[in-house]
C-alpha cells in the first residue's frame, strides 16, 4: 500500500501530489494512444498520396508529357518520405509517454522512487525529441526566409 508521504528527490509525495501524478498519467496514456493512431493515419495518408501521384504515370491515363508524370511521381515519393518521418517521430514520442505512464503507475503502486525517477526520465526523452524537432523546423524556416531575402 502507498504510504501517506514518501520522499522524491528532497520533496515529499503527499496525497495531492499523488492525485496530480495519477491524472497526468491518465492524460499521458490518452496522448500516447492518440499519437500512435495519428502516426498510423499519417503513414496511411503517405501511402495513399504515393499511390495517387504514381497512378498518373499509367499509360493511357497519365500525362503524355513525361516531365509532368515524373515530377508527380517524385512528389509522391517525397510526400511518402515526409509522412514516414513525421509518423516515426510521433510514434517514438508516444512510446516514451506510454513508458512514463506505465512506470509512474508502477511507482505509485509500489511506492518506488527509482521507478518514478525512471518515469520522469521518459518525459525528458519525450520533450527532448520535440525540442530537437522544433529546432530543426525553426532552422528550416529561417533558411527559407533567408533564401527568399538573399
Amino acid at each position: 500500500m502507498m504510504e501517506e508521504k514518501s520522499s522524491i528527490f528532497n520533496l515529499t509525495l503527499d496525497a495531492e501530489s499523488t492525485s496530480i501524478i495519477r491524472t497526468s498519467v491518465s492524460w499521458a496514456r490518452i496522448l500516447s494512444i492518440s499519437g500512435y493512431i495519428l502516426a498510423g493515419v499519417l503513414m496511411m495518408l503517405g501511402i495513399v498520396t504515393k499511390i495517387v501521384f504514381s497512378s498518373y504515370d499509367r499509360p493511357g491515363y497519365g500525362y503524355n508529357d513525361r516531365t509532368v508524370s515524373d515530377s508527380l511521381s517524385m512528389g509522391g515519393t517525397f510526400a511518402l518520405v515526409v509522412y514516414i518521418i513525421v509518423s516515426v517521430v510521433l510514434a517514438a514520442s508516444s512510446t516514451f509517454l506510454l513508458r512514463f505512464a506505465n512506470k509512474a503507475t508502477a511507482a505509485l503502486k509500489t511506492n518506488s522512487i527509482s521507478a518514478l525517477n525512471g518515469a520522469l526520465a521518459n518525459v525528458r526523452a519525450h520533450l527532448s525529441i520535440w525540442a530537437v524537432v522544433m529546432i530543426i523546423v525553426l532552422l528550416m524556416m529561417v533558411l527559407g526566409i533567408l533564401s527568399v531575402i538573399l
Binding site: 491524472t23 497526468s24 493515419v41 495513399v48 520522469l120 522544433m134
Partner: protein, 122 residues
C-alpha cells in the same frame, strides 16, 4: 527535463512569431496581386486568418503550460518547495490534456476528410 521543456516552449514561440511574419508577407503579396488582377479573395483570406490564429493560440497555450511546468518544477526541486513542484506537475498534466484534445480533434478531422473525399481519385 525542465530545460528541455523550456527549449520546446521557446522554439515554439519563435516559430509562431515567424509564422505571423510570413502570414502578413503572403497577405501583402496576395493583396498586391488581387489589385493587379481584379480578383476578390476576401473570403479565402479571412478563413486563412481565422485558422492561422486559432492554431497559434492553441500552440501558445501549450507553450504557456510547458513554460510553467519547466520553471515551477525547477524552482520546486532547487528550493525543495512542495507547492512549486506540485504546480509544475499540474502544468505538465495540462500540457498532456491540451495536446491530447488537439490530437483527437486532428484525428477526427483527418478521418472525416478521408471518408468524404478519400479514395476518390484512385
Amino acid at each position: 527535463m525542465a530545460t528541455w521543456g523550456l527549449i520546446v516552449a521557446v522554439t515554439m514561440v519563435l516559430r509562431y512569431v515567424i509564422n505571423v511574419i510570413e502570414y502578413f508577407q503572403v497577405k501583402a503579396e496576395a493583396d498586391r496581386m488581387s489589385q493587379e488582377l481584379g480578383y476578390d479573395y476576401n473570403t479565402a483570406s479571412q478563413s486563412t486568418l481565422i485558422w492561422t490564429f486559432l492554431g497559434i493560440a492553441i500552440g501558445l497555450l501549450v507553450c504557456y503550460f510547458l513554460y510553467r511546468f519547466s520553471t515551477f518544477t525547477k524552482k520546486g526541486l532547487d528550493n525543495n518547495d512542495q507547492a512549486d513542484f506540485d504546480t509544475g506537475i499540474l502544468n505538465l498534466r495540462n500540457y498532456f490534456l491540451t495536446v491530447a484534445i488537439v490530437l483527437i480533434v486532428l484525428i477526427a478531422i483527418v478521418v472525416i476528410v478521408l471518408t468524404l473525399f478519400g479514395a476518390g481519385p484512385i
